[in-house]
Symmetry: C2
Subunit: 463 residues, 2 copies
């Protein structure tokens, strides 16, 4: 959706005066985006009242007066369903909010007292905080912009573990028969593309995350359109590039290549152009515990997916993104979510594991001088931390209600503080439990380190 | 989706040589669009073989060689699901195809021999026929472009029958409380808009058709976006226009008016700009029998909806459409569908009723010199016509299988040949039966007057 010039100008002025900040929340599906955004709005709404935000100086110092929801600016972007999420948490029994699909938005006006008062004292200021929530899967398509069709086909081929490959055997058997030079049959391409999409869907169901093209998983109004009917061409490594490029426009190869280019132009680019390049700050959420539960092949896959995803924040001067879209995100947070699902003394290990998992992208970001911080948090705390005595020794435990409604008092296990290797996996399986939200008693949502995340993401704008 | 200039130019050249024709099919939901397009493709595929197309000269004269599906040009438009539709008709028992949602497309290359042979004889020519299918509901939004927000609010107010009004009482009671001058609360507007959309959905369920804004009924990816969160402002007739326009931008009135404008610009216009203005020919399908079954208030409503819809084809020089989009549709057909659901001697009355229902729009079209033809047809014939003897008198009857699978032999009733008035409705209720498709025996789909429709829509391009 194009932005009228007048609004761009208005945005620019507001930003120049530090009155407007666009904060984006992302993460792969089930990473906890909806819970995070719900809690963020909830904490700021209750700021100055019941919210516990001691790690956020403006709140600790009593300068944060609160926040009000106001009309968002992008009329064509769905509104983040905060009320529905709160209703889910307030239900009997409480349940986790429905995940959002696609992008959504919500605008808050935050009122606060600046640290330096004006001559008249009692002065208050306002910050317009635009919050965005979008699927991390969309960022997985960025690397696709660096490819043309043959190089993308090649890049999609390396064997990626047996379990994952097994989900694509059906497609591969059929696609291997396709003659790149033959005249394209739209029905046949549609069927092959559908089998490829089935493979992607099965892989997502099975817990894999590094899936391209992302739109195949959420086609929306484009279901059945040729732009979503392509796939990597198998066996392309043997073919001579120049020979492929000489194939006539009605050939299978040329048809698939054309659709790939259309996907780049009309699906991938518009998100970066219309949304991404306008974000000021970003937090990326990662469900590390879920990945540990899912085993080595999926953990490895998550690592690849995150490395891909993080490319969208690497603003080295020569990066594809900088050249294409001149993005302006100037501060980044990476958070391991659901920290309340392990005992508190494990939180440090959770952050260490996150940093180990993202070691390479983090190096690139630091080299590119993008300020980034890793932390662990629980947006909506579902458990209480306890100690239990066993044979005279005191040890940590969690109390919570599991998804089937049973009260539990347990020690969920130890988080590795480095990347688990094969021996580690063989020695130890993970089985972190899932808890449902605790019943609320009014007031702000209980959390772990939402205030630290807020301080890093918006604290400097509230001085 | 923007069309690259090169393609526009290519289109223009092909059209100049009469080698390309873009034919659009529309109608309100349940009017039979999917069946029509399925049959059209099927007849042309079987042309020269089993298809019975005696009313299409190029087929009768043995010059039509057949048609082949080829790759469509618009990669971002879903492909018309012809194979799925045929699979539904070939199932045991056969059932009607799933209705399409939104726009879809399919391209055929038709091969034929021209009437005048070249010097070498035996020459064949090709016509690329692009077929489009889109919801008639989208055309109901055209009149909305002629309004600004206050005039649209007024236009939506006239009482439109008790049954319909009753579906909006909930919304009206809540909306009447809204103070146009008060600062807008996004949550409150979202809730009121949702109630309005509920009213529209209930009205559609109850068989009403004249519903605006059309996108509220098919929100797709815009579900929850502010652009779909407006509604006509009740009680606006008393307010002074100038006073309303002076209200501040954060007021309810100004917020709703802004969303209305956004809807015009970003929802209504793009369809006309990107698709509609590129159609060459159009057929509008009408389910007259269904409307007669539904009773006087819904019949009246259909009449209003069609009058609205037909404005999209009124190319008088001063019409809104001509000014905005310079459309080029140069031939129009209007068809009463499901003619096989009444006995053959009723078909003439069906056309007469259609012409009576559309009397005013047809006058406008003839005045604007847009060639238009009304006809009755059955895209996929579900019944056989029979005669039964009763007490020595022979009378017409239909044999078919109803939706519950029962064989029926019956006289469905008489179609009025003019608009039924109150006395007529009081005297006679209508109860035309619904039939399921007959089992197929290979070959082309059986139809009634598809060949006449084809002759009018594409016959002149096949000479």
């Amino acid at each position: 959706m194009r932005q009228p010039l007048a609004r761009e100008l208005h945005d620019l002025l507001e930003r120049g005066r530090d009155r407007q900040l666009r904060l984006a929340v992302t993460g792969l599906s089930r990473s906890g985006k909806t819970a995070f955004l719900t809690s963020l709005v909830n904490q700021l709404r209750h700021a100055g009242l019941e919210a516990r935000l001691d790690l956020l100086p403006v709140a600790r110092e009593g300068r944060l007066l609160g926040a009000r929801r106001v009309n968002q600016q992008d009329l064509g972007v769905p509104r983040f369903p905060y009320d529905q999420a709160m209703a889910a948490l307030d239900a009997t029994p409480p349940h986790w909010p429905e995940p959002t699909r696609g992008i959504s938005e919500l605008r808050l006006t935050i009122r606060y007292r600046p640290t330096r008062r004006g001559l008249l004292g009692g002065e208050t200021r306002e910050l317009a905080l635009d919050l965005f929530d979008y699927p991390g899967e969309w960022l997985l398509d960025l690397p696709l912009l660096e490819h043309d069709y043959p190089s993308w086909s090649l890049a999609q081929q390396p064997a990626r573990g047996h379990e994952r490959a097994a989900l694509f055997t059906d497609w591969l058997a059929a696609a291997a028969e396709l003659d790149p030079a033959a005249a394209a049959d739209e029905g046949q391409l549609a069927e092959l593309a559908e089998r490829y999409a089935e493979g992607l869907r099965a892989a997502r169901e099975a817990g894999f995350a590094d899936l391209q093209p992302g739109r195949f998983l959420l086609p929306g109004e484009l279901a059945g359109a040729p732009v979503l009917q392509f796939f990597p061409l198998p066996g392309i490594e043997g073919a001579e590039r120049a020979a492929l490029d000489r194939l006539p426009p009605e050939s299978n190869y040329a048809t698939l290549a054309k659709r790939f280019r259309h996907y780049q132009q009309h699906i991938v680019r518009p998100f970066y152009r219309d949304h991404f390049r306008r974000f000021d700050r970003q937090i990326v959420l990662v469900d590390l515990l879920g990945a540990l539960n899912a085993g080595p092949e999926r953990f490895e896959d998550l690592s690849r997916a995150l490395a891909n995803l993080m490319q969208s924040f690497d603003y080295g001067k020569r990066s594809l993104l900088s050249r294409l879209f001149a993005p302006r995100i100037d501060r980044l947070a990476i958070a391991a979510t659901k920290a309340d699902h392990v005992t508190p003394e494990q939180h440090g290990r959770l952050v260490a594991l996150l940093e180990a998992l993202l070691a390479e992208p983090l190096k690139d970001l630091r080299f590119a001088d993008v300020p980034v911080r890793a932390l662990s948090l629980a947006a909506i705390r579902a458990t209480e931390s306890r100690e239990v005595s066993h044979q005279g020794r005191r040890s940590p435990a969690l109390r919570g209600t599991d998804l089937s409604g049973e009260e539990q008092l347990l020690f969920p296990g130890e988080v590795p503080d480095r990347l688990p290797d094969a021996a580690f996996w063989a020695r130890q399986g993970f089985d972190f439990p899932a808890f449902r939200p605790a019943p609320r008693e009014g007031g702000a949502l209980l959390h772990i380190r939402m205030d630290a995340a807020l301080d890093w993401l918006i604290g400097d704008k509230l001085q």
